[in-house]
Symmetry: C2
Subunit: 395 residues, 2 copies
Amino acid sequence: MSWLDLPAGTGFGLTNLPYGVFSTSGTARRTGVAVGDSVLDLAAATGDPVHATGSLNGFMAQGPGAWAALRQRLLEWLTDPAHRDAVEPHLVPRSEVTMHLPVEVADYVDFYSSQHHAENLGRMFRPDSPPLTPNWKHLPIGYHGRSGTVAVSGTPVVRPWGQRKPVDGDPVLGASQRLDIEAEVGFLVGVGSPLGTPVPLADFEQHVFGVCLVNDWSARDLQSWEYVPLGPFLGKSFLTSVAPWVVPLAALEHARVPPPVRDPQPLPYLRDDDHPWGLDIELQVRLNGELLSRPPFREMYWTPAQQLAHMTVNGASLRTGDLFASGTVSGRGRDERGSFIELSWGGTEPIGLQDGTTRTFLEDGDVVTLTASAPGPDGTVIAFGEVTGRIEPAR
Amino acid sequence: MSWLDLPAGTGFGLTNLPYGVFSTSGTARRTGVAVGDSVLDLAAATGDPVHATGSLNGFMAQGPGAWAALRQRLLEWLTDPAHRDAVEPHLVPRSEVTMHLPVEVADYVDFYSSQHHAENLGRMFRPDSPPLTPNWKHLPIGYHGRSGTVAVSGTPVVRPWGQRKPVDGDPVLGASQRLDIEAEVGFLVGVGSPLGTPVPLADFEQHVFGVCLVNDWSARDLQSWEYVPLGPFLGKSFLTSVAPWVVPLAALEHARVPPPVRDPQPLPYLRDDDHPWGLDIELQVRLNGELLSRPPFREMYWTPAQQLAHMTVNGASLRTGDLFASGTVSGRGRDERGSFIELSWGGTEPIGLQDGTTRTFLEDGDVVTLTASAPGPDGTVIAFGEVTGRIEPAR
């Protein structure tokens, strides 16, 4: 129990304690922890300059020992009334803060680890081939994205220009007509690794600090014209939005679930029987406030621990601030799909909305908001900070 | 004429003046300029702290006015004997310096802009299709690479592990058996751009600071198994080597040549009649000292100015330290190919070496060195710092 008056059923209770970077009017960016409807100003409360740098990178680099120690200290502060007088002055109402990009992103990698999503896109993009490429069940397919255009939730989504190819005729330059989302879960590396040394799957918790929602905005018309043979580029690089709150891995211990059965068995470096990192996170996708789908992260074929092991098996180094995202989270059902291209089946099945309009892809003025929750201990809920964005007209 | 005793025919004369980051035994990393067989210690000679940061980023961010002003000042210092007493103490023999990664790389993008290279790979990887994909002549195809594994010339090349797929049978994990190079030219962004605002082709010189050689080491067996549908990932991400010396764009004014004729005409944002940035740079690829090929950069179908315009047409922002590379430079002739997969035609035509051995792909202990030169004014030569690496056995 906290001496703090926490709202009933809050997803930001003592079992969560996510980190973010905030400011209030006229003050510098600093690290905070969300608790109930407040933000605890860690820079002020701890006096530790690592929390006054304006990004989580310095703290993330300190490693699991420091992460656990601070989490324990926060729990004591917020439960023992003896700390109340010292801590309470450093609580700021969340309604009064501006949230910023929580990390300086080093490399950004995007995976493709939902079987339902990959099969759906395979059926649409490569109708004459099996829905999954031959490699899909042998390795977590991924690619590097643009880290310089990772931005915090709320950043306007300017409709991108680019080349698209009409079915008949030459390519044209214009505003994307198939602007989409990808509802994803992102993992942030705290502790780096040296060049030339793979990180084994079992070392996942030694490197990964926390988890945040990601919306990997996608221009499907640009993507489908450009992506053969070297993969997505401008169809993705205009913006990737991340939630302002990073849920510590420790808060998700109770949400761990067995991953799906893999058939065929992957190679030994990807076997995770002893380190299953399936996570029972349910995402929610809302368009202009209306709930469109509930993608189930627990069904992801490849776990983040497998992704980390794969990403480094060639000796690639990790750096503090590396972000790797799951790929679109989609379940089997239509109301579990994490992108509009799936929800509208490539634009052929418009989505009916409560206001009587329909959507295939996003229109100017649309607001997409992703939220998510996971089970915490003792019936508590772990909420993820939302990631939202409003579509602005092309410039 | 310099008061400095420059070696005859040096590629590091007064028309070049490339920047790098160096240290000597027991001293901090700082910016230097290569001139003849010396390095001018800019931190000491100018007293400007921007040259004592250990990377070029701060100076690159200052923009074309500052770049031109310092270049002019350097010329005066090195030509007017009145400056000799003040400048000479800050010259360090190049044989005594250790060179470091010259920039903190923000995002790394790799293009695919040699028509000869793309056609060669298309013929090998997709023998049943036309060698160029339908998009190739409409846009400069590119993808993001891993900036965290960009390292300076001389960094050991540890043979990567990864998944490869035998023709018959399941994928296996093991050391790459088809380790290759890609001889490329890289361009470094000095001045960033805001999110949502494309950079027009004509603004190339406002953003790009300089040019360096790049070897984009590639594991072809990993790449061919993983790359469909999202492009290269682990086949490339283990290491990308860059030269320690960054040739200022101003040094290449005399090397500008008309790019190849484009057919069909690209879309207007890629038309470069008024801003041709073809560059007459000849690369040299050496294996264990033996010259294997001379890839001609002047034949690249897409110029770096077109690449920059394309990379930002969707509104993606630029940051100081962004590196974009040309893609493998290959000419029409066999002795102009910039990769072993082309030189050995997918491993089917072993390359005979002077020592009597042959190569298809790289063997442990092999040393690959890229060099390059371009014409400067008045018959001078602009040399590029070499990028070299020795293959170490897999760990």
